[in-house]
């Protein structure tokens, strides 16, 4: 089963549409992500459609650590086709990680890929973190999704998705999460249940 999940994640690589990390020129985005390990807040501004800069705060509940970063997201390549789009991003951050006893410099980087039509969605991203002796990891995340109906702009869009997280250093390396996404205008909400016992809830608002 694990190999099957890994094959799916590799064959269908492309962005975890945690909503795209870069907006339109002059656009602001607020992203709040919560899963079994992390509560994350990320606010960014896009001077152009090629990159965004912002602030990100992570609280890692599994190790009781806070992290703050200045984050830069770069759209390295976009493919626009009739009724489909694919993107390749680089996401990086510099900041600090701290708990009750430590205060250490921290940095992360990772790529994100996605491909979506109005019916199908698939994504992949990774996250390489260095926070001295507080935490170091390489995590991977892949998603596939399908829209049970296709709505036009302004309709309430619904997606059924399946996410797999992989962390070689974790007790449960593969962590699957079925979820549902609701999307309307500039607002996106995602809710899911991690099969390793945790709630996923994401909220994204564009301005």
């Amino acid at each position: 089963m694990r190999y099957l999940i890994l094959i799916i994640a590799l064959v269908f690589p492309v962005l975890t549409a945690q909503a795209r990390p870069v907006s339109y020129p002059g656009g602001w985005t607020a992203m709040f992500m919560n899963d079994k390990d992390t509560n994350s807040s990320h606010i960014h501004y896009s001077p152009t459609a090629k990159y965004s800069v912002g602030w990100k705060h992570d609280y890692r509940g599994d190790i009781d650590v806070n992290m703050d970063f200045v984050q830069l997201n770069n759209l390295l390549k976009r493919w626009n086709l009739p009724s489909e789009q694919a993107n390749f991003y680089l996401k990086s951050g510099l900041g600090v990680a701290y708990d009750d006893d430590n205060f250490k410099p921290a940095a992360f980087t990772g790529i994100a890929l996605d491909w979506e039509t109005r019916r199908y969605f698939t994504s992949y991203e990774n996250h390489l973190l260095y926070a001295d002796d507080i935490d170091q990891h390489i995590k991977h995340k892949a998603r596939v999704g399908i829209a049970p109906y296709v709505g036009n702009y302004g309709d309430l869009h619904t997606w059924l998705m399946f996410q797999v997280d992989y962390d070689a250093g974790a007790k449960d390396s593969f962590s699957p999460t079925p979820l549902v996404r609701f999307f309307k205008d500039a607002t996106m909400v995602e809710a899911g249940y991690n099969l390793d016992n945790g709630i996923l809830f994401n909220f994204i608002q564009r301005f």
Binding site: R20, Q85, G151
Partner: protein, 104 residues
């Protein structure tokens, strides 16, 4: 627990069934721009924000089904093709055609 999750997901799908409306109703179709890459509401929002800042534009709407931007110009106003192409490209999408339907 799995049955509960499946039931909730199924309920969400039915509850969220769309009310499909004519998105361009009430908009004067002065210029219609055919665009590649518009697949979601975030794309449409981006386009609406970018064109909405133009002084010559009275209203703008997006038809994801047809891959079209519909531009309603203010009376006596024009917007040239180079500006349209630049706005769409800078927003991250590709223009494939520009059709002036009711432009003066």
């Amino acid at each position: 627990m799995k049955k509960i999750i499946l039931t909730l997901l199924t309920a969400f799908v039915f509850i969220s069934s769309p009310v499909l409306a004519d998105q361009t109703e009430g908009i004067q179709r002065d210029v219609v721009v055919k665009v590649n890459g518009m697949v979601c509401d975030f794309c449409a929002q981006s386009i609406k924000k970018v064109f909405g800042k133009q002084d010559s534009v009275a209203a703008v709407d997006v038809d994801l089904d047809k891959g079209e931007i519909i531009i309603d110009l203010k009376d006596g106003q024009k917007i040239d093709h180079e500006t349209i192409t630049a706005l769409v490209t800078d927003a991250g999408y590709n223009v494939t055609d520009i059709i002036e339907e009711n432009a003066e």
